[in-house]
């Protein structure tokens, strides 16, 4: 049976809290049942934290909103058990093409290597994503969804937040240890706290048309600058499931948003692209403008902001919903650690610091893309056109073509939770005194620096079944030891187990073997085979190399050999005890 997720309405039901003599107290309340709020709720619930989700409406998203879900976002949903469903329904793609006037000037592949479970992107209408997330949330015993519950009052108190909530049955009060505001770009919670987002509003209008048709365009992102069928403006084409195509036409600031969406004005634009005889139906048409802005701080006492409520970007780069889902996963494990007493409240400040940094990176990328796509003055347009003209023949210019720098997870390079690579040797007596060069034996190369998100790789589980590295990580902290083809000595195994037993927080122990068979490991360990040595290559690992990964799969520390004291300190640091 096909569910029309856009038409679903969820019944308001009166909760016992509404008639309680005194306001009920909850550990975590999430406001907003969009992709970010539902992901936050699912991640927390999976960690054993009960969550109430309040939404002022009773429907999922309708019409044309986010469609491009990035590899990292899919990996997060994999951990929550939804990645497969979303990827199966969606359209996977890796390749983008850029056209200038009537010629292709550049083709790029966002994932030019094999050995990843997920593609660079999956296109899927937001209402499907929300529908799938909602079904999982509704089925979870620790998630309590309350529709038509509108927060109209927020009071910060020492140690919790008092909420006033409006419902069809009138007002009631709730208390929450933590309030997570995922209530969108116009965030009522933000307004209730008297906070604002700051940034740039762009004076340009875009027409979105979601068109249903049978077409033989490939599953690629196509971007036109100044095409003959829409002169002096840009056009973006994306494939979605159900034979729906997203077409995004730049209109310019002077376009009349009311006139522009009338079929008499929309149809000729689409026919100009598809041909006069094209058969299609309009699924959705709207005109949008956008801003690049964020709140100065994502944490205000016991209220934490995530997703569009905290930051907004232009759509070029698919950095909106994707960064929001990454906010959710950064926050969930930290909240769990604080609520379980494994960490102090200051760990939530590192959520703010890391995700504000990520928001700045997204805003910078998004603003730069927007300036390239919609030049604000003649000279900017001349340089833009020069880049596109040169890109046909010269590789250096292709690096300057910016039709959107597509969402990648941030590397939290300066996070206080990182333990830096410390394996540097003091300079030799005769060498330049200003340089500390890594010793060849201990230095790392590659992308897995502290703060980076763990790269995936194909591995085999202890039964020899094909699986993925990221699927092996179970949502706890993970200590992974690369063992080569033989088991570590008993002293190392005992020290690892002792570390896990004495740790404040749950710690998963993983042994990574090369070769075709994994030696037997004690039951406290997960043993996997890196049978293609892909994992070792991506992590620049040798026998003895050891990584500590955070619950959100970011690298906390790496060393060339296991040292219980170093790992124990790194684990403390990653929990905010710097």
């Amino acid at each position: 049976m096909t569910i029309d997720y856009q038409a679903l309405e969820f019944a308001y039901t009166k909760h016992a809290d509404q008639t309680a003599a005194a306001p009920a107290s909850h550990r975590v309340i999430v406001v907003g049942a969009g992709p970010v709020g539902l992901t936050t709720a699912l991640d927390l619930a999976q960690r054993g934290v009960p969550v109430s989700v309040l939404d002022d409406d009773c429907k999922l998203s309708t019409g044309s909103r986010a469609i491009c879900f990035a590899k990292r976002t899919l990996e997060i949903w994999d951990r929550l058990g939804l990645g497969e469903r979303i990827a199966d329904k969606g359209v996977s793609w890796n390749v983008g093409k850029v056209f200038f006037r009537d010629q292709e000037v550049w083709r790029f592949d966002l994932l030019p290597e094999h050995g990843h479970r997920r593609p660079a992107f999956v296109n899927l209408q937001q209402y499907y994503v929300e529908g799938f997330l909602h079904e999982a949330a509704a089925a979870h015993p620790l998630i309590d969804l309350r529709w038509k519950n509108k927060v109209v009052g927020v009071t910060q108190r020492p140690g919790d937040v008092a909420l006033s909530i409006e419902t069809p049955d009138g007002l009631y009060d709730l208390h929450a240890e933590w309030l997570i505001a995922c209530d969108g770009a116009r965030s009522p919670i933000r307004k209730l706290l008297g906070q604002e987002s700051h940034g740039r509003v762009f004076k340009d209008r875009f027409l979105i048309a979601d068109v249903k048709m049978h077409a033989d365009f490939p599953a690629e992102r196509w971007f036109w600058f100044d095409p003959p069928f829409h002169p002096n403006q840009s056009v973006l084409l994306h494939m979605q499931p159900d034979n729906v195509w997203r077409i995004d036409f730049q209109l310019g600031w002077n376009a009349d948003p009311v006139e522009a969406v009338k079929p008499a004005n929309v149809l000729p634009r689409i026919r100009a692209l598809l041909g006069a005889d094209a058969q299609f139906e309009l699924e959705w048409v709207s005109v949008y403008t956008f801003a690049c802005e964020r709140m100065d701080a994502f944490r205000h006492g016991r209220v934490v902001f995530a997703g569009d409520a905290a930051h907004r970007v232009s759509p070029f780069g698919a950095r909106g919903a994707n960064s929001g889902v990454q906010d959710a996963e950064n926050l969930a494990w930290k909240l769990q650690a604080v609520l379980d007493g494994c960490a102090t409240e200051t760990l939530i400040d590192t959520y703010a610091a890391e995700r504000e940094y990520a928001a700045d990176e997204n805003l910078l990328n998004s603003t730069r893309s927007t300036d390239f796509i919609t030049p604000k003055c003649e000279v900017s347009r001349h340089f833009r056109n020069a880049v596109l003209n040169l890109a046909r023949d010269h590789s250096f210019a292709r690096g300057l073509v910016n039709s959107g720098r597509l969402s990648l997870p941030s590397v939290y390079v300066d996070s206080p939770l990182n333990t830096p690579d410390a394996d540097t040797a003091p300079p030799a007596a005769q060498s330049d005194a200003d340089t500390r060069i890594p010793t060849e034996a201990s230095a790392f190369t590659g992308r897995m620096v502290p703060g980076a998100v763990a790269l995936d790789a194909p591995v085999r589980d202890s039964q020899g079944n094909e699986t993925w590295w990221l699927a092996t990580l179970d949502g706890r902290f993970t200590l992974a030891l690369f063992c080569g083809d033989h088991a570590p000595d008993n002293a190392t195994l005992a020290a690892m187990q002792q570390l896990a037993q004495q740790s404040r927080t749950a710690l998963q122990l993983v042994l990574v073997y090369t070769g075709d068979t994994a030696p037997l490991a004690p039951t406290a360990f997960t043993a996997i085979q890196d049978h293609q040595t892909c994992l070792a290559q991506r992590y620049d690992a040798r026998p003895g190399t050891c990584y500590l990964l955070r619950p959100d799969q970011h690298v906390a520390v790496r060393r060339r050999q296991f040292d219980a004291a170093v790992m124990s300190r790194a684990l403390q640091r990653a929990l905010g005890y710097a």
């Binding site: 003649e378 001349h382 020069a386 040169l390 210019a397």
Partner: protein, 65 residues
């Protein structure tokens, strides 16, 4: 290496003539795009942000002291 602002072209008049002639027959719009392309090509050749920043600042001061 700082930006060279002392005479460095072996035949200045010939360079200048070549520069102007290269634009012959172009519309103002095309000329503007060609100049932009020329800047991009030379900047990539230089490949040093210090020198490029220095050149931008000299150029800016030439029109807005």
């Amino acid at each position: 290496m700082p930006l060279i602002v002392e005479p460095n072209l072996p035949a200045p008049d010939a360079f200048y003539q070549t520069l102007i002639e290269a634009h012959q027959g172009l519309t103002d719009e095309q000329s503007a795009e060609m100049n932009a392309a020329l800047i991009l090509l030379l900047a990539n050749h230089v490949g040093d942000m210090e020198i490029i920043r220095d050149a931008l600042s000299h150029a800016r001061r030439s029109v807005q002291p």
